[in-house]
């Protein structure tokens, strides 16, 4: 089995076998992370640069920790404060960094496709840590690993994704991944927060929580992306919480053993009731964070293996 990609830019180009390959390797890193000596050497001698053009705490920390645990030299660049503010273009920034010979570049950017553009201009492996409203592949992979561990499989499950689908790259990557692995995906949210053409994605679309959550195995809540709203998508937070916020009453429509997920950071009392988020029998939100580190270790390990076998061609 081979992983046939130089970069991890999205779930879209991945084959089901490649997804399984990352998850299988991540399982091994879960064990490593739970041990006393949390150190491997898969990335020893390699340089990892985290470039975040958009604020992030947890994703950046997760990638940083993943790189350090595998022995990479990790550098964080907060692009908000740097040359971008001085008018440098994304491509010039990429070329500048490329000259420092990094091996792994982890990039988050507010514009869809920006990570793709950057990957064309560098010699190293690029990991998309979220680009605009496009994809967030490691989030979908960590969600998949969490589901697989909780449910014992990653196929023929009924999975609801609820909330602000339109502005969510997490939703897009999850829809693609769960579809590739042959699950039944249900999207629930107000029509103003559904992207156009969504019915053509091979998903079921619901506007009512009770109906959409009926007999699902997994409930994925999305953050209501307040900072991305142009304004006027929903009448108010409280009406949203009343109709779409996950509480015990709505969750009762799901299977009794359904798990609850959230990519974080949560808005308690907006999209999810605090007691459900904290319910250790239902919520796997903390487990998601743990899987995040393992999945990112696995993804960087696999890309680094490819990197060693690839000739270093020079691109303009």
């Amino acid at each position: 089995m081979r992983f046939s990609h130089k970069h991890l830019l999205g779930i879209e180009p991945l084959a089901p076998d490649e997804i399984t390959m990352i998850l299988d390797l991540a399982e091994r890193y879960v064990d490593l992370n739970r041990g006393r000596a949390k150190h491997g050497d898969a990335l020893a001698g390699l340089t990892q640069i985290n470039m975040f053009f958009e604020n992030s705490t947890r994703t950046q920390a997760s990638f940083e920790l993943a790189g350090m645990r595998l022995g990479a030299d990790v550098m964080n660049m907060s692009m908000q404060a740097s040359s971008i503010k001085k008018g440098e273009t994304l491509i010039d920034t990429a070329l500048t960094l490329n000259a420092m010979h990094p091996d792994l570049l982890v990039v988050r950017h507010p514009h869809s496709g920006a990570v793709d553009l950057l990957s064309q201009k560098v010699n190293c492996a690029v990991l998309n840590a979220g680009d605009g409203k496009h994809e967030h592949p490691t989030q979908a992979l960590l969600d998949a690993l969490t589901i697989r561990r909780a449910k014992g499989r990653l196929h023929r499950l009924s999975i609801a994704i609820c909330g602000d689908i339109a502005h969510s790259r997490v939703a897009r990557s999850n829809i693609l991944l769960l579809g590739k692995m042959e699950n039944r995906v249900k999207l629930i949210g107000p029509p103003t927060l559904m992207p156009s053409g969504i019915a053509e994605f091979g998903v079921e679309v619901y506007e009512d929580m009770a109906e959409g959550l009926r007999d699902v195995d997994v409930v994925m809540m999305l953050r209501l992306q307040k900072e991305r709203m142009d304004g006027g998508f929903i009448p108010s937070e409280r009406e949203y919480y009343h109709r779409y916020g996950l509480d015990a009453e709505k969750l009762a429509h799901a299977k009794p053993d359904a798990i609850v997920m959230h990519p974080g950071p949560m808005n308690r009392g907006v999209e999810i009731d605090g007691t459900i988020a904290d319910d250790i029998n239902r919520s796997v939100i903390q487990e998601q964070v743990e899987m995040g580190v393992a999945v990112r270790m696995a993804a960087m390990d696999i890309l680094a293996r490819n990197l060693r076998s690839l000739p270093k061609e020079v691109m303009a």
């Binding site: 879209e12 553009l117 496009h134 992207p195 053409g197």
Partner: protein, 430 residues
């Protein structure tokens, strides 16, 4: 001085014919169009110069309505010199320039500058459009009368839709009193604000801000209602969606003075060509679905859509090598208009006379120009081309200063062999 172009396939958009014959050029004008062999033999004895066209196509030169030449303001993207050479190489004999320059062409003085620069630098005819409102800001109308006197052939704010309907109503009313043609951009501006692609599955998959194709119909519906109120002469610059066509047809049936155009890119490409964020395919309005493309092609063939143009919009590498949302819109098209349009002929959508009706005759008629015809007395603005010659497009061969063509690397058919403006050859392959 007489020149005889003989042994040519004469593509005549007025008569809809495609026959072998000859054209006699006398003093810069078409002296005779002949298909009778005895007549041609007689002409051969009189002509000072004879050119054997080897059975290739001879058609009226293209009249390209809506070309952006980036003078004044962004001469590094395109000058009258480079645009003129590109036009000549593309078989375009008349460029109708857009006023969306920096600053906008909104006074007789700036229009005068354009006319002078164009005459110095370009080997083809250049006729300018002027802005409809000052600074293309949509607040106050320009000096339409003075601008007409200075040579403006039409008035347009280009992609800046006049948001204030009252301002547009007054401008249309004033323009009607002078018989001026107003070129509108049918688009509902608040719906399309910030959009980079057409809404639908592809837009959602790529996570790009999108606009519904309905925004075009809403814009067109408003403009049509204003035409009913004012009786102005109106041309919609680009119709790109199926949903706008019934509105256009009804307006035509109701006797309104309305014509419509299409851009070559919307007729030969669709939204999926954007693929992995290829910014050379970012246009305004954005590329549409395949169903929309086919509907507009059909409308062009039936004559519901009158004109076909390149919507030539030069952008330099810096403004295109950006994340898709931030990248500039537009594509160059002067040199690729004809080979791209021939795709429609090769695909069987329309014949050559119908194509040249949209490329030359209709835009000339709409602007009141004598060119665009193969007829006695018309200016000898001609293009000789081989409709079948294959080539692979290499953007670095373009004469435009900007090379932002979406056809780079694509296989195309159709090469211009010679271009004549006023009987003078301005382009020819050695």
């Amino acid at each position: 001085m007489t020149t005889l172009l003989w042994n040519a396939r004469l593509i005549n958009p007025e008569t809809g014919t495609d026959d072998t014959g000859a054209v006699l050029i006398e003093n810069g004008a078409i002296g005779a169009v002949m298909t009778n062999s005895a007549e041609i033999a007689a002409a051969k004895t009189r002509a000072a110069e004879m050119i054997d066209c080897n059975g290739k196509c001879l058609a009226p030169g293209i009249v390209d309505l809506g070309v952006k030449v980036c003078e004044p303001g962004e001469r590094h993207k395109e000058s009258f010199g480079s645009a003129g050479l590109a036009a000549a190489a593309g078989g375009v004999t008349t460029i109708i320039t857009r006023p969306d320059t920096l600053p906008a062409i909104d006074t007789p003085e700036t229009l005068e500058f354009i006319r002078r620069r164009a005459n110095e630098a370009a080997p083809v005819n250049v006729l300018p459009m002027a802005a409809l409102t000052k600074g293309r800001e949509g607040h106050e109308m320009t000096e339409i009368g003075f601008l007409l006197d200075a040579g403006a052939v039409a008035f347009s704010d280009c992609d800046h839709v006049v948001r204030n309907t009252k301002v547009l109503q007054r401008a249309l009313t004033y323009a009607r009193s002078l018989g001026a043609l107003v070129v509108g951009h049918p688009q509902e501006p608040t719906l399309s604000a910030g959009a980079a692609v057409t809404s639908g599955k592809f837009a959602s998959l790529r996570g790009l801000p999108a606009v519904s194709p309905m925004a075009e119909r809403m814009g067109l519906d408003r403009d049509i209602a204003l035409l009913e109120m004012t009786g102005a002469r109106y041309h919609a610059d680009q119709i790109t969606t199926a949903r706008a066509l019934p509105a256009l047809e009804r307006a035509r049936q109701n006797g309104l003075d309305i014509t419509a155009g299409a851009s070559i890119h919307h007729l030969t490409l669709n939204e999926l060509d954007v693929a992995d964020y290829r910014t050379f395919f970012k246009l305004k309005p954005p590329l549409r679905s395949e169903n929309d493309r086919l509907a507009v092609v059909e409308a062009l063939a039936s004559g519901l859509i009158d004109t076909l143009s390149s919507m030539h919009t030069p952008q330099d590498e810096e403004s295109k090598r950006l994340p898709y949302e931030e990248a500039a819109s537009g594509a160059v098209g002067l040199e690729t208009l004809l080979p791209a349009a021939l795709r429609l002929v090769h695909a069987g959508h329309l014949d050559l006379p119908t194509l040249f009706r949209a490329l030359a005759l209709n835009p000339a008629k709409r602007l009141g120009l004598a060119c665009g015809r193969l007829a006695n007395g018309a200016p000898a603005d001609l293009v000789l081309f081989d409709p079948d010659a294959p080539f692979v497009m290499d953007r670095y061969t373009l004469r435009s200063k900007s090379r932002n063509t979406p056809f780079d690397g694509q296989r195309m058919q159709g090469k211009v062999l010679a271009t004549y403006v006023g009987g003078q050859q301005v382009y020819g392959r050695e």
